[in-house]
Amino acid sequence: MKVLDLSQSYFDLFKQPLSFEIDLAQLHENQQNLQAKFHPDRFVNASDQEKRLSVQQASWVNEAYQTLANPVKRARYMLEVSGQDMKDESETTSDIEFLMEQIALREQMEEVRDKQDPLEECDNIIKHLKLRSKEISDDFSNQFESGDLQAANLVSRKMQFVQRILEQVMDLQFQLEEEFS
């Protein structure tokens, strides 16, 4: 069987340039073409070794796709392949303005239930967070393109934070919907 080079970067695997702006439709199509070749279903009657290899390759393709399709993971991965130490979490953001924004958002979330229309309040926060997410992503893209990886690294942590709180608000909204239905 053909074997993938697992040492290449996810960007090379999907034949995409190392850039935050990515063609998601193309990415998806490439992923499906790769799975069509490497998925274990294609090796049901093969030897045990080929079966194991296929599970490994298909898993790797899935992991690569999941990483590049998600903006936060993509950003972190770009830094990792550019040689940034992503395990070092010590240097947290010292951006006071951003810290204040975090606190305000958390408070706003905690007060959702007290609002007259909690679901609408969730909608408002989600809309705001999606907007902020776009701004911060653009910021990341610019910093990365300009070669300031350290700055980009800090911005990627902001992306992580906004993503996490967005998920929490969406969870809360779902929970509220269930309670009201």
């Binding site: 799975q35 049901v44 009657n45 599970v55 298909a58 899935n62 992991e63 999941q66 269930e178 239905s181």
Partner: protein, 623 residues
């Protein structure tokens, strides 16, 4: 006696190697088997024409009965007639007590076995063994129809089945002696059955309400690729719950004084019959008789809807959740596929239509749609369709995590991640000289470990002693295309691979499976002899037939009287004893016929070559 089947020179006597495969739907209430023949998937009936095999096993004194034969004992001997066993697959004794009075059985466990056994008059039996009986029966049906051994099968499972439930299903197949190509998620199978028929590209929802499980999946179809975007459901919600709600209503109306297992079972049977009647009627009569207690009453569809409404409403929460997980709006859904016998309850399609604001598709028989999809997938996986572009990309239904300090769960692979998938995690030691550590793997979405399902505890042993914090142990969690997990571990600084001792929380250990396999083989010894006898009888008849037709065509032109008589002597001996002797004897007698006709076979070969060459120019013949 292959030599008597002489094929014309230039014609191949060995046709293209075709593998026999089948799809199996191992359901809570009914099970089915289907296979693709001449490009068409057909669900196989039993001798009486029934395609549904009730998922019921009767543990009789003499023998185990499966299906309709077992069903007969249900109302009189409920404790030895095992039904809805799928609800127990991969479950521990604690889960079972949570199912409440849904199942009437008594369970036994002992210290060495985590898998509970059902107590019956002929001994304790696990859900895996009961399921294996059902699988064997279905495989037999397929092998009889196909006329050969199955090379492999695709068995469907609810998409929402966790690792333990999937493993239990695979173990049952192992016990039944089946080679499993793949465990296929039921909604994905249904999409295959519909998708290939109608060649839709787009996003579809599959709503699957079976006897004991509910699944909802969102899939994207694109050029033969079925990509599951998200899946959700409730592995303990189904038509059984409707029966029970209705049973409770009957109980309330009837005010019986004494309730035992037989009466409970009769109430449930009456409830199920009423439910089925109300799929086509507006009102139905119910009657329950047991000893001197009787009750009769009528039920209208309106009353029935009131009883079932809360149960069906429970299915809508997972629907909302998968839409969100798939990041799909309701108006992007192009089709809704209905699967499972319980979708025949009229309120189900009504409520589904109300939720999705679109009429669900019900073109295919909801009982058969899953097994048909499984057969199509089995046919593709067997290699019989090398040009097929069909590919099913599925996801992990429930997050996998490990237990961390304070009984909290840390997610390693989150739900709806495409499979196969592998994730690695690094640990270090916290004591000097530490050479082992344990990892508790769980599955579920909740934060507290106690709210998730425990899958297994892994003991990693044998890495070299080092100072605290120096070791770097990498644990890799691999989920394969069946949704089953394996774990491996390595100490990175020394490269030592740790020994992993797995203690499954609910599954059978390898030793248990082995001993069950041995037991079932003892049990099946008679069956095997019977099957071999059948095979030899068929072979003997085939030999006689081939010989007779050969003798008619050229016996007298090629053979002398003595030769013919000698052959006939052995032939007639074989024919006389076909129905009365053992398989071994039949085998010997077939051999004797073959030996007696050896020179005849040689003569036929020569004469057929001469015939084939006759009238041809020498340059047309290639030697």
């Amino acid at each position: 006696m292959a030599l008597l089947q002489i094929s014309e020179p230039g014609q191949s006597s060995a046709p293209h190697q075709h593998r026999f495969s089948a799809g199996i739907d191992l359901g809570t209430t009914n099970s089915l088997v289907s296979t693709v023949r001449s490009g068409i998937a057909e669900t196989l009936p039993d001798e009486c024409g029934n395609v549904l095999l009730p998922s019921i096993v009767y543990m009789g004194n003499e023998q185990r009965l499966v299906g309709h034969e077992a069903q007969k004992y249900q109302s009189d001997d409920p404790l030895n007639t095992l039904s809805s066993i799928k609800r127990l697959m991969g479950r521990g004794i604690d889960d079972i007590s949570q199912l409440g009075n849904v199942l009437p059985y008594e369970f036994v466990t002992d210290e060495n076995q985590v898998v509970p056994r059902i107590k019956t008059a002929t001994g304790a039996i696990s859900a895996v063994e009961v399921s294996a009986e059902i699988l064997k029966k279905l495989a037999e049906r397929a092998q009889k129809t196909l006329g050969g051994k199955l090379d492999g099968v695709v068995i469907t499972v609810p998409a929402y089945f966790d690792d333990a439930q999937r493993q239990a299903t695979r173990d049952a197949a192992t016990l039944a002696g089946l080679n499993v190509y793949r465990l296929l998620n039921e909604p994905t199978a249904a999409a295959v059955a519909y998708g290939l028929d109608q060649q839709h590209d787009g996003v579809i929802a599959v709503y699957d309400l079976g006897g004991g499980t509910f699944d909802i999946s969102i899939l994207r179809l694109n050029k033969g690729i079925f990509e599951v975007l998200a899946t959700g459901g409730d592995s303990a919600l189904g038509g059984d719950d409707i029966d029970h709600a209705l049973g409770e209503w009957i109980l309330e109306q009837a005010q019986f004084e004494q309730l035992d297992a037989v009466l409970s079972r009769r109430i449930l049977i009456a409830a199920r019959a009423a439910k089925e009647a109300l799929t086509t009627q507006k009102t139905t009569e119910i009657s329950v008789n047991y000893a001197d207690q009787t009750w009769q009453g009528s039920l209208t569809i309106e009353q029935f809807n009131l009883i079932t409404q809360p149960i069906i409403k429970k299915t809508l929460t997972p629907c909302r959740r998968v839409l969100r997980d798939a990041n799909i709006d309701i108006d992007q859904i192009a089709q809704i596929v209905m699967v499972g016998g319980s979708t025949r309850v009229p309120l189900v399609p009504q409520m589904v239509e109300g939720f999705f604001q679109r009429k669900p598709m019900t073109d295919l028989d909801p009982d058969q749609v899953v097994v048909i999809g499984a057969a199509i997938q089995a046919d593709v996986l067997s290699g019989n369709k090398p040009d097929s572009e069909m590919l099913l990309l599925d996801v992990l239904p429930l997050s996998l995590g490990i237990e961390t300090m304070g009984g909290l769960s840390e997610k390693i692979i989150s739900r709806n991640t495409p499979i196969p998938v592998a994730k690695a995690q690094e640990f270090t030691t916290f004591k000097n000289g530490q050479t082992s550590m344990s990892v508790h793997v769980i599955q579920g979405e909740r934060e507290l470990v106690s709210d998730c399902r425990s899958l297994a505890r892994f003991e990693l042993r044998g890495f070299p002693p080092m100072v605290a914090g120096a070791a770097r142990i990498r644990v890799t969690y691999q989920v394969d295309a069946d949704g089953l997990m394996t774990v491996s571990a390595e100490e990175l600084t020394s490269g030592v691979t740790a020994d992993i001792v797995v203690k499954p929380s609910y599954g059978l250990t390898d030793t248990e499976i082995e001993s069950m396999l041995r037991a079932s083989m003892d049990f099946a010894q008679e069956d095997i002899e019977l099957r071999m006898l059948k095979e030899q009888q068929v072979e003997a008849k085939r030999v006689i037939e081939a010989l007779d037709s050969a003798l008619v065509s050229d016996g007298h032109s090629l053979l002398g009287e003595t030769e013919i008589n000698n052959i006939l002597l052995h032939r007639n001996q074989l024919e006389q004893q076909i129905e009365s002797t053992t398989s071994d004897n039949l085998k010997k007698m077939i051999k004797a016929v073959e030996v007696a006709s050896e020179s005849y076979v040689a003569k036929r070969m020569n004469s057929s070559v001469v015939k084939a060459l006759a009238g041809k120019q020498i340059d047309e013949v290639n030697f």
